[in-house]
Subunit: 124 residues, 2 copies
């Protein structure tokens, strides 16, 4: 697929908003580089670039909570992506469906835990 | 409001996903600095920081298409925001409700124009 019009930033990254296609819940925001976007399109599952680990990662690789890609949109400036997915299980490593589980000014998560992170990722 | 736990990036910015609270449509992604976030909370309307113009901007200042803030969430890494709003008119400067009107690999906007940009912003 041709996406030469997509604008990656100075670090070669573009922010990708991930939205659950059934509930329209915004699940997470992560970054893709060109390779991650290619792998996402090729495999039909989401791949991202981790800025902290400086490596590609396949969402759900450890947890099994993969995201099946239904549609990918880009915005009027071509510098951000909206990826509509079917979410298996829960998107957040904390066990909640969405990573956006806290209101500004509060620290408690309001999300229901759909899995126990320590059972999926192990004790750290 | 205290948001000392929110992580702004090396440029002092945080990406903010704007979602229409009624339809759950993802409208746009823009960036806030700490001042823009303060003004958003204080006024109940969205303010952003323009990276190209290096200035604060109040969404809807020219077009009248303001966004009334209903809720602000932050994610598990505290480095992105999800702002749920009531959108007046249309979010996109192209006249469409959402800025995400194009599918990856295509260049045509699929969004219905809710206003004529040249009438709102003038001829450039």
């Amino acid at each position: 697929m041709n996406f030469t019009n997509i604008k990656f930033d100075a670090n070669g990254l573009i922010p990708a908003i991930i939205q659950d296609v059934k509930s329209n819940t915004v699940l997470m925001l992560a970054y893709m580089n060109e390779q991650a976007l290619h792998k996402t399109v090729e495999t039909g599952l989401t791949w991202f670039y981790s800025r902290s680990r400086q490596a590609l990662w396949h969402k759900g690789e450890t947890s099994g909570n993969v995201q099946k890609v239904i549609d990918i949109y880009y915005d009027c400036d071509a510098d951000s992506l909206l990826v509509k997915v079917e979410q298996t299980g829960a998107a957040c490593h904390e066990g909640t469906f969405s990573c956006f589980s806290r209101k500004l000014g509060q620290t408690d998560s309001q999300g229901e835990k759909l899995f126990a992170p320590e059972e999926v990722y192990g004790q750290s």
